[in-house]
C-alpha cells in the first residue's frame, strides 16, 4: 500500500512538472529548454549533502525454506545515512532490526508421521548502499542498492534443525544480501521524510528473502 501511495505522490508531482516536457518526436521550444537550464542549478543544490534518516516499517518474507516458513522481518526499525554528491550519486550505510514473529506450522517426518512445531525468528541487517537521487519537482526519488549482511536469530520449538533442512547451522544464521529499493523523499529545509521500500534478496539458502516497506524521517545537512 505504501508503494502505491509513493507512486501516487510521484505521479502527482510529475504532473506539475510536465509542462516542461517536449513531445517525443517534435522539437522542444527554446523557452522550454531555457527553463530546464535554469532549473538545473537549483536541482543540484538541493541534492548535495549528508543525511541521517530514522527508518521504521514492516517487512514480510516472500519465500519458504523448502517447506519451512520463517518470518524474520515484521516490525522493523533502524537508521540510514549517507552523503549525496551534486550529481545525485549517494554513498550510504544502513542498519535495522526486524523483530520477526513466531510461525506455528505443521511438519511431517520421512516416515509420514505428522507433527506441529513453532519457528521463532528475528533479524539484524546492515550494509553499505549505492544510490542515486533523482529530483521530481519538490520531491526526490532515491534509487538504492544495498549490499550487506543479515544475522537471523532462530529458535525451532518442537522439531530439530536437521529435520528442517538447517543441517549443522546454529543461531544466528549469517548470510549476505542484496537490497535494491526505492524511496520517495520530501526535503523541506533541514527536514527530510518519505516512504520507500527495499527488497532483501538473500543469498543464503536458510534465510528467506523479504520485502520491507519503510517510513523515513530525518535531517539533511
Amino acid at each position: 500500500m505504501r508503494v502505491v501511495v509513493a507512486f501516487a505522490l510521484a505521479f502527482a508531482s510529475g504532473f506539475g512538472a510536465r509542462g516542461a516536457r517536449a513531445q517525443s518526436a517534435g522539437p522542444q521550444p527554446v523557452a522550454t529548454a531555457a527553463r530546464a537550464a535554469d532549473a538545473a542549478p537549483r536541482r543540484r543544490a538541493s541534492l548535495r549533502g549528508f543525511d541521517v534518516l530514522a527508518t521504521a516499517g514492516w517487512g514480510a518474507h516472500t519465500g519458504k525454506i523448502v517447506h519451512l516458513e520463517l518470518a524474520p522481518y515484521g516490525a522493523s526499525f533502524g537508521i540510514d545515512l549517507g552523503y549525496t554528491w551534486s550529481s545525485g550519486f549517494r554513498l550510504g550505510g544502513y542498519f535495522f532490526r526486524s523483530l520477526g514473529r513466531s510461525v506455528h506450522q505443521p511438519g511431517e517426518t520421512p516416515s509420514g508421521r505428522a507433527y506441529e512445531f513453532t519457528a521463532d525468528t528475528s533479524s539484524l541487517n546492515g550494509g553499505l548502499s549505492l544510490g542515486w537521487d533523482v529530483p521530481l519537482d519538490q520531491l526526490v526519488l532515491r534509487y538504492q542498492l544495498g549490499m550487506g549482511v543479515t544475522a537471523m536469530a532462530w529458535d525451532l520449538r518442537g522439531t530439530s534443525p536437521r529435520t528442517e533442512n538447517f543441517g549443522d547451522d546454529s543461531s544466528p544464521s549469517l548470510g549476505v544480501h542484496l537490497a535494491p529499493g526505492v524511496s520517495l523523499l520530501w526535503p523541506y529545509g533541514l527536514f527530510e521524510g518519505g516512504l520507500g521500500f527495499e527488497y532483501l534478496a538473500q543469498i543464503k539458502d536458510t534465510i528467506p528473502s523479504g520485502f520491507i516497506g519503510t517510513l523515513l524521517v530525518g535531517v539533511k545537512l
Binding site: 507512486f7 510521484a10 505521479f11 508531482s13 510529475g14 504532473f15 512538472a17 510536465r18 516542461a20 516536457r21 517536449a22 513531445q23 517525443s24 518526436a25 517534435g26 522539437p27 522542444q28 527554446v30 529548454a33 530546464a36 537550464a37 538545473a40 543540484r44 516472500t62 519465500g63 519458504k64 554528491w85 551534486s86 550529481s87 545525485g88 550519486f89 554513498l91 549505492l130 542515486w132 533523482v134 529530483p135 521530481l136 519537482d137 526519488l141 534509487y143 542498492l145 549490499m147 542484496l178 535494491p180 529499493g181 526505492v182 527488497y199 534478496a201 543469498i203 539458502d205 528467506p208 528473502s209 520485502f211
Partner: protein, 284 residues
C-alpha cells in the same frame, strides 16, 4: 548459481563510483532543442519497446536478478546503433558463463504515433562451458547443447507525452540436444530452453521528464520443452509473469531501472515468486 549476478553488481558499483563526482553537464543547445525527456531518441528505453538506439550510439547496461530469459540472473549487455533503425546487442554476462548470445533489432516503422520493431536473436549453450554450475549440475549438463532463436515483433504507440503503450509478440524456438530429463529441467526451469509463443502487453507512464513508471505482463499461449523425444508442454500457470518498475535518468547518459517481478519462474530461480530486479544503463 545465486552468485552469478556478482560481475554485474561489481560493474554497477565501479561505474557508479566513476560518475559520482560528475555534475550534470550543461546540455548543448542542439540536444536540448531535440527534446530532453525519456521519450527522446537518445533516452528512450529500448527494452520491450519498438525503439532502437540512434546511429553510432553505444549503450552498456549492468543489472541483476532478472527473470526474463534475456536478463535472467545477470545482465552485462552491450548494444550499438548502426543507423537506419538497426541495433546489435549481446549480453556479456551470459556469454561469460558459457551461453553465447547475440541479437539484432530493426525499428522499421517510425511514425509520430506508431512504431514497429522486429528482432532476431541467436543463443547457443554448451554444457561443458557452463563453468558456474555446481559440480553435480555441471556433470549432468556436460553432454548437452541448447539452441534458442527468439523472434520478436514489438509495437509501440505514444498517444501523448505522458503515456506509451507497447505490445510484443514473440516466438522462441528452443531445442535441447543430448539431454536427460534432469538436464532438461535445468534449462527449462529458467526458461532458456523453452519453446514458447507469447504476447507482452505493457504501458509506460511518464510521471516527469526524467522518470517513467512501467508495467508489463508476459502471457504465453504455448510453452513446450523440445528435446530428443516428443515435445512436453508446460502449462500457463508456470510461465506467466508480470512486472512493475521505475526507470529514471540519473544524469546525462546514465539511466536506472528497478523492477518488481511476480512470476512462477522466479520461484524456481530465486526461491520467491515476488522478486526485484535492477539495471543501470550508460549511453556515452
Amino acid at each position: 548459481m545465486r552468485w552469478a549476478f556478482l560481475p554485474a553488481v561489481s560493474a554497477f558499483a565501479l561505474a557508479a563510483a566513476a560518475v559520482a563526482n560528475a555534475a550534470e553537464p550543461a546540455q548543448p543547445a542542439a540536444t536540448a532543442a531535440a527534446g530532453s525527456n525519456l521519450q527522446s531518441p537518445e533516452q528512450v528505453s529500448t527494452r520491450y519497446s519498438a525503439y532502437t538506439l540512434p546511429a553510432r550510439q553505444w549503450s552498456m547496461a549492468a543489472g541483476a536478478l532478472g527473470v526474463g530469459d534475456g536478463d535472467v540472473y545477470a545482465v552485462l549487455a552491450i548494444t550499438y546503433g548502426l543507423g537506419a533503425g538497426v541495433q546489435l546487442n549481446m549480453n556479456l554476462a551470459h556469454a561469460s558463463v558459457g551461453l553465447l548470445n547475440a541479437g539484432a533489432s530493426w525499428h522499421f516503422i517510425d511514425t509520430r504515433y506508431f512504431d514497429l520493431k522486429a528482432a532476431l536473436g541467436v543463443w547457443y549453450g554448451h554444457g561443458d562451458w557452463f563453468w558456474i554450475a555446481e559440480p553435480l549440475a555441471k556433470k549432468i549438463l556436460s553432454k548437452i547443447d541448447v539452441v534458442k532463436v527468439p523472434l520478436e515483433l514489438t509495437a509501440s504507440s505514444t498517444p501523448n507525452r505522458w503515456l506509451q503503450f507497447d505490445l510484443g509478440l514473440q516466438y522462441d524456438y528452443a531445442r535441447i540436444f543430448g539431454a536427460s530429463s534432469q538436464a532438461d529441467s535445468l534449462f527449462t526451469d529458467n526458461q532458456l530452453g523453452l519453446t514458447q509463443v507469447f504476447v507482452r502487453p505493457g504501458a509506460r507512464l511518464f510521471i516527469a521528464d526524467n522518470t517513467a513508471f512501467e508495467l508489463f505482463a508476459r502471457l504465453p499461449f504455448y510453452s513446450a520443452v523440445v528435446g530428443e523425444g516428443s515435445p512436453r508442454t508446460v502449462p500457463f500457470k508456470h510461465t506467466w509473469a508480470v512486472e512493475a518498475g521505475l526507470r529514471s535518468r540519473f544524469t546525462r547518459g546514465v539511466f536506472g531501472n528497478i523492477r518488481l517481478n511476480y512470476a512462477p519462474v522466479s520461484d524456481l530461480l530465486y526461491g520467491a515468486r515476488f522478486y526485484p530486479a535492477f539495471e543501470v544503463e550508460f549511453r556515452p
